[in-house]
Subunit: 260 residues, 2 copies
DNA sequence: ATGCAACCTTGATTTAAATCAAGTCTGGCG
DNA sequence: CGCCAGACTTGATTTAAATCAAGGTTGCAT
């Protein structure tokens, strides 16, 4: 499985796992380790078999394009491992990351013929791809699944509104504090093993991605994280892991309470 | 019907129209002038009667609170006239308007027990209020209505992503240009009478609201609009109406193409 | 008609974050 | 093991937009 950035999730190469024997395929959703943290938790055993038949599992290396802005909206995806970034761009290259989809999150819904956003893997990602007609069949056949999707999109909209508040009205310091707390939440929702890992945040993305998510430059992100480290609010753990030393202070900063 | 800012949409006073005779109530949705521009266009005649029975119509003056941040999420609304602003606030009063809901748009969906946002009328607003249990019954009884709501929320999410791009990555000039074009689009979708009104934008909100929507200050909004006027890109028409003199140039500005 | 309050505009000055400019760290590869 | 490219950090300077500060408009209530 070679690492091949720029590969599309539709290309057969680039890490895609081809459909194995039918028997195994029926089991895939039944044994999925993040099933109960995703849309799929709306399904009974029969529904899970239908899900498995309607989708194909993909394994993608970091930097792989999943969805391209403006391309026909042919598929819907459920992330089952790793982190995906969703973004929109201006013609001159300025980019806004509109969200990160961690394991258990969906992406790719569209009412239009084409995607209005791009999506790319941040790290090693496993996802289930549903072609549009298959998704529509599922929605019609399983009302609980449709209701669950409606709830999931409603939650995404609330998240988007929270991010608009951040982008439009928070300072750099407040933005970075909010981000670190979100990544701590994402880590807790995602971590399958209940380790010691209290107050850990998973930050698999680069400074460029963080900056494009928070509406800042990489220098401002770097300076702000350094300042938090100097103030002993956070500490670096292993690579792409940050330990949050004072959740309470960070919460105060994130919500605009003065903390000096 | 007295003008009473700060009144809640749940208070019986403040412009609420009480349920008239049952016959008239059955007709309400059938004869609604913006029905085919809203969620309700998914309903057949029987469904429209069910909608009318499930909802109550409210007439609210400018500045009326419809939904309060943090209050129990008891109802869902469909705007049938006027403009509503949706917003989120920080403890110190900083506010981000996350969207304007014009006639035909819904608001009030929530997965949580409480609303994560506030909503307030901008001008004179007419809306239909559905209590939560009633909405849920409708969703279960009318699958086409549920599918239509899913599509509507999906569209709102795409709009939110576009607004994140604006907030995080556009300049003041680009933000205001984008806003004026959006308001032109809103005017065209909303205007029931097909008048001469070509290239008109409906801007019922104040500078404070525009600033809180674009992540700017009122001074910057005012200066930028003045500059557009001086450059003959726009012209004031009647109050709260702006005529757009060069859609093409404004489109270029909005998408980041340099135009000097 | 007049007064006033809310809203809007314009100008001067400040500032938070961007930009410009060097480095330093890190981890994968020969 | 040590080199190199990409990622990150830190410092100096600039700048877009915020803030501070007056006025000017508008329309409603008397």
């Amino acid at each position: 499985m070679t690492s091949s950035p720029q590969t599309s999730a539709f290309a057969p190469a680039g890490g895609a796992v081809h459909a194995p024997k039918a028997d195994i395929d029926v089991m895939r959703c039944l044994v999925c380790d993040i099933r109960n943290k995703s849309l799929c938790n709306s399904m009974d055993e029969e529904g899970l078999a239908a899900l498995a038949h309607s989708s194909r599992q993909l394994l993608l290396p970091p930097g792989t394009t999943i969805v391209e802005e403006g391309e026909p909206a042919l598929a819907f995806f459920n992330v089952t491992r790793g982190t995906v970034k969703l973004f929109k761009s201006l013609p001159d290259g300025r980019r806004q990351i509109t969200g990160f989809a961690d394991a258990g999150q969906f992406l790719g819904l569209s009412t239009a013929q084409t995607y209005s956003f791009g999506a790319e893997t941040v790290d090693n990602v496993r996802l289930c791809r549903f072609l549009r007609p298959q998704l529509e069949t599922l929605l019609s056949d399983y009302p609980t699944f449709e209701r669950r999707l409606l709830a999931a999109v409603t939650d995404k909209l609330a998240e988007a509104q929270e991010q608009m508040l951040l982008l439009g009205r928070k300072t750099a310091r407040e933005k970075v504090a909010s981000f670190l707390l979100d990544r701590m939440k994402a880590f807790h929702l995602t971590a399958n093993r209940r380790q010691e890992a209290e107050n850990m945040a998973s930050v698999p993305m680069t400074r460029v991605d963080i900056a494009d998510y928070l509406g800042l430059t990489i220098e401002t992100v770097s300076r702000t994280i350094s300042a938090f480290r100097r103030s002993l609010l956070i500490a670096s753990a292993e690579n792409h892991r940050i330990r949050i030393l004072s959740v309470a202070t960070l919460l105060n900063i994130a919500s605009g309470q003065k903390t000096d």
